[in-house]
């Protein structure tokens, strides 16, 4: 952990350290001992390689770690020669970790290969949600459910976040201005299409409505932290294609698409 320097600013090097991943600096050329290596041999292995501990391997799998501390404890117990596996200390924990890791691997495989595993000329997954108007306390439930579902499909977290933000804003708009609405999401391997349709009052001037800061929101909406005229601009910012059609007195249909493999459009 590196603290900020006196001026409370982060230097470039500190910044770099924050971004650095363990994988980039870890030792890959490891010295290991097999589980049946005798303790009497371990001392010379540690000394000759100038190391304070080493992974213990059995049948190609790591089963534990043996350290200088284990060695000293062994000596203090009398130092009767035996295989390292009888002395190493974290065997159980390690196996547990391995099981967890294995389960995570399986989960990740299932998720990220979901589309690849489907055999068809075209695969599309549809999600449908219903929004009840004027129920502000429920605002965001659709976005939240969609976010979870997209994550399960193994879509990149940054893309999921973008889809969720756009849906949340659209959901809030439906809640403010309409009696009810529906959200239809089509997920294809390379694109997420979101359509939000409501039967509400409609937008008189669509060109104005997409301008940042333009708002017709009533006070009760502003008190809830929305209605500052950033909803549609935010949605536009999250999307690649953005299309909105509205008829006063009938309702509004918003269509956006977000590529699943694209680079982040914003810095967020």
């Amino acid at each position: 952990m590196i603290a900020a320097n006196k001026n409370s600013q982060f230097t470039k090097i500190q910044e770099l350290v924050y971004e650095l991943k363990v994988a980039e600096v870890m030792t890959t050329n490891l010295i290991t001992v097999s589980s049946d290596t005798m303790m009497s041999k371990l001392r010379s292995i540690l000394r000759d390689n100038r190391i304070s501990g080493t992974p213990v391997v059995k049948g190609g799998q790591m089963v534990g770690l043996i350290s200088v501390e284990d060695f000293i404890n062994w000596l203090s117990r009398g130092g009767v020669d035996c295989p390292v596996e009888e002395v190493m200390s974290i065997e159980g924990l390690l196996q547990e970790l391995q099981i967890d890791y294995h389960e995570e691997e399986i989960h990740r495989y299932r998720a990220s290969h979901f589309f690849e595993d489907m055999i068809a000329d075209k695969v599309t997954i549809n999600f449908h949600y219903h929004i009840r108007g004027k129920k502000i306390e429920q605002g965001g439930e659709v976005a939240s459910d969609l976010k979870r579902s997209l994550k399960r499909l193994g879509i990149h977290p940054a893309i999921v976040r973008r889809a969720a933000i756009a849906t949340y804003e659209a959901e809030i708009n439906v809640i403010i201005y309409a009696e009810e609405g529906r959200v239809d999401v089509n997920v294809e391997p390379d694109v997420i299409r979101i359509e939000v349709r409501d039967r509400g009052q409609g937008i008189a001037d669509v060109a104005c409505a997409v301008e940042p800061g333009y708002s017709t929101a009533p006070d009760w909406v502003r008190e809830l932290g929305f209605g500052a005229g950033m909803g549609l601009p935010n949605i536009k910012n999250c999307a690649r294609d953005f299309d909105i059609a509205s008829t006063v007195g009938q309702g509004t249909t918003l269509k956006i698409s977000i590529p699943t493999g694209g680079e982040e459009k914003r810095c967020a």
Binding site: I136, G139, S144, G225, A228
Partner: protein, 118 residues
């Protein structure tokens, strides 16, 4: 910075949250306008806000904000805390005003979301 350190700086009360040492806050943002938060906040941030209704937590959930701190001693209603518990998003309560809370964190080295974009 660890969330537990931030709690110290803001002299905050923990309304919900467990094991706060494990949460690393990368940057912070302060706003009562949820659309602004959705627009420029970054994943892993702390949100400082005077807005205590559940939408503050919902916004945090949707934009992957790691923790929310209510400023000026405003206690959120029970449904806000419930939603935070459901999504495991720590909630803090600080007596400091928005300006002071942001200033204290910034001078302690917690950058803003826009700083991180530059």
């Amino acid at each position: 910075m660890k969330l537990s350190e931030i709690i110290g700086i803001l002299q905050a009360e923990v309304l919900y949250g467990e094991d706060l040492d494990r949460i690393e806050i990368k940057q912070a943002c302060g706003s009562d306008l949820m659309s602004d938060v959705l627009c420029y906040s970054m994943q892993g941030s702390l949100l400082l806000t005077g807005l205590t209704n559940p939408q503050a937590v919902r916004t945090a959930e949707i934009s992957e904000i790691s923790a929310v701190c209510f400023v000026r001693g405003k206690k959120p209603p029970a449904e806000t805390v419930d939603l935070a518990r459901k999504n495991d998003i720590p909630l803090l309560l600080s007596k400091y005003s928005m300006y002071i809370a942001c200033g204290k964190l910034y001078s302690a080295g917690v950058l803003g979301c826009d700083d991180r974009c530059e």
